[in-house]
Each structure stands twice: as structure tokens, then as C-alpha cells.
């Protein structure tokens, strides 16, 4: 079994705000992330797939195919978007890095028929990242 990781970047804006909380609670829990005018990040996404190395090609997966799927399913949907307003998963949940990693996994899992998804890692900042392994 070999693990292969592909890295890509996207830039998006978001805010953290739960309408069931009072304004005071939103401020206390989410701090400056609760500003409804939003703010943005340069996200780095690392997608790790796993599989046996094909004896004829020497590949776990064709990188071109993986890149095409990442561009089509993730980058086109998230890059230069407002996550709260333009990405359906975040119509009713908060676009934290945790939820973003889960949403990316769910988008990829149903479309990634060329390899087995192992891990989705999303960096919101160089000093903050979330890993999701598909665990319930």
C-alpha cells in the first residue's frame, strides 16, 4: 500500500455566525470571525489517496486524473468564492476549517473513482490545519 498526496490552493472568504445564538454569544464564541462583513484566507488543501502500485504503470493513481477531479470538484467550487453565500454545504452550517475538511471529503468521496481517499488536510493558515479521515 502506498500513500500519495496532492497539494492545491484556493482563496475564499467566510464568516462564523450561528443565527440561533444571540449577537453576544456569537461574539463570545467566534470573536472577530463573527464579523458579518466576512474575511478571507488562502487555503492549502492536501488530498491523500492510497492504493497498490500498478505494476504496469508504477502509479497509485494517474496524477493528471486526480488533478482534474480536484480542479473540477473542489477548486472550481471554492476558489474565489464566499463560502457562506456560494457553497451549498454552508447554507446551514458554519464554514469552519473542520466543516470545510468534511465537505471536501464528501465531495471527493463520491467522485473519486480512481483511488481510495485516505485523508483530507486543510490549512487555513500555516499554523492551523484540520485532518479528516472519514471517521463518523
Amino acid at each position: 500500500m502506498v500513500y500519495l498526496t496532492r497539494k492545491c490552493e484556493f482563496s475564499a472568504s467566510h464568516y462564523y455566525h450561528n443565527p440561533s445564538f444571540s449577537e453576544e454569544e456569537n461574539q463570545r464564541i467566534f470573536g472577530k470571525c463573527a464579523n458579518l462583513n466576512g474575511h478571507g484566507h488562502n487555503y492549502t488543501l492536501e488530498v491523500t489517496v492510497k492504493g497498490e502500485v500498478d505494476p504496469t504503470t508504477g502509479f497509485v493513481v494517474d496524477l493528471k486524473d486526480l488533478k482534474d477531479i480536484l480542479n473540477r470538484e473542489i477548486i472550481d467550487a471554492l476558489d474565489h468564492r464566499h463560502l457562506n453565500k456560494e457553497v451549498p454545504e454552508f447554507a446551514d452550517q458554519i464554514p469552519t476549517t473542520e466543516n470545510l475538511a468534511i465537505a471536501i471529503w464528501q465531495r471527493l468521496e463520491s467522485k473519486l473513482n480512481i483511488a481510495t481517499l485516505h485523508r483530507v488536510r486543510v490549512y487555513e493558515l500555516p499554523d492551523l490545519f484540520v485532518d479528516f479521515y472519514g471517521e463518523p
Binding site: 462564523y16 450561528n18 440561533s20 445564538f21 464564541i29 467566534f30 470573536g31 452550517q93 458554519i94 464554514p95 469552519t96 476549517t97 473542520e98 466543516n99 475538511a101 468534511i102 500555516p126 499554523d127 492551523l128 490545519f129 484540520v130 485532518d131 479528516f132 479521515y133 471517521e135 463518523p136
Partner: protein
């Protein structure tokens, strides 16, 4: 859904690797220039990984403010800009990065309860790092 969250912190400290149970010659042989008598320093980078269910109302594994506060109190206030050999934690232990990793893990395990501590990873330089998960 269970997610893993990792946060990175920087601190700077000095140390000298010297075991009292070894002779001076043995210390030089084992620790090399890390045994130089007046010590030396590093910029350490600490990565703390916690895990847990993502809270459906906040979207968070834990509040970063709470994690930052715990790491500041337990690790950064204790070890940033100090001589590790003079810290109470290293009175009877050599302050190698292996031992420092265990000390930091234990401090966080005992004092941060808002999420499960998965592991810590400590970079002594950009070229070497150590991981400890309590085992």
C-alpha cells in the same frame, strides 16, 4: 463526524545536553557539540493535534481560544526564553527534545480537557522533529 485539528506554536529556549551519570569524556562522546559547557539555543516549533466530534452548533472540535490559552499557560509561559536545564522539569532529566516532547504532552494531557489530545510534534530545527502520543 470526528476531525483532527493541529495548531503550531513557536518558542525559543536554550539547553545543554549533559548526563550527570556519565563522565565528561563520555558526555562529549555521546552529545558532541550539544555538550559544550555554556549551552546553546533553538527556535522550537510545537504542533499540537487534538481530535473530537465537530460540534454541530459551532462547527468546531474545540475553541481555538481555549487551546491557545492552555498552550500559552502550560508550555509557552514555562519554556519560552528560558534555560531548560534550570527548569524544575529537567532537574534530573537531560533536556533532549525527546524528553521535552514527553513533558509537554503530559502537561497538556493533564491540563487541557476541551478535546482529546492526539499527539504533539516538536521541531528542534527545520531538520529534526519528534512526535509523542503518550505511548
Amino acid at each position: 463526524m470526528k476531525a483532527h485539528l493541529t495548531r503550531r506554536y513557536i518558542f525559543s529556549a536554550s539547553h545543554r545536553l549533559h548526563a550527570d551519570s556519565l563522565t565528561d569524556q563520555q558526555n562529549r562522546a555521546v552529545y558532541g557539540k550539544c555538550n559544550n559547557p555554556h549551552g546553546h539555543g533553538h527556535n522550537y516549533a510545537l504542533e499540537v493535534t487534538v481530535s473530537g466530534q465537530v460540534n454541530p452548533t459551532t462547527g468546531m472540535v474545540c475553541n481555538l481560544v481555549d487551546l491557545d490559552e492552555a498552550v500559552r499557560r502550560e508550555v509557552l509561559d514555562r519554556f519560552d526564553h528560558v534555560n531548560l536545564n534550570l527548569s524544575p522539569e529537567f532537574v534530573s532529566e537531560v533536556p533532549t527534545t525527546e524528553n521535552l516532547s514527553e513533558v509537554i504532552y503530559d502537561l497538556l494531557k493533564q491540563n487541557f480537557k476541551a478535546a482529546h489530545l492526539e499527539k504533539i510534534r516538536l521541531e528542534e530545527t527545520a531538520m529534526n522533529s519528534f512526535e509523542y502520543d503518550g505511548n
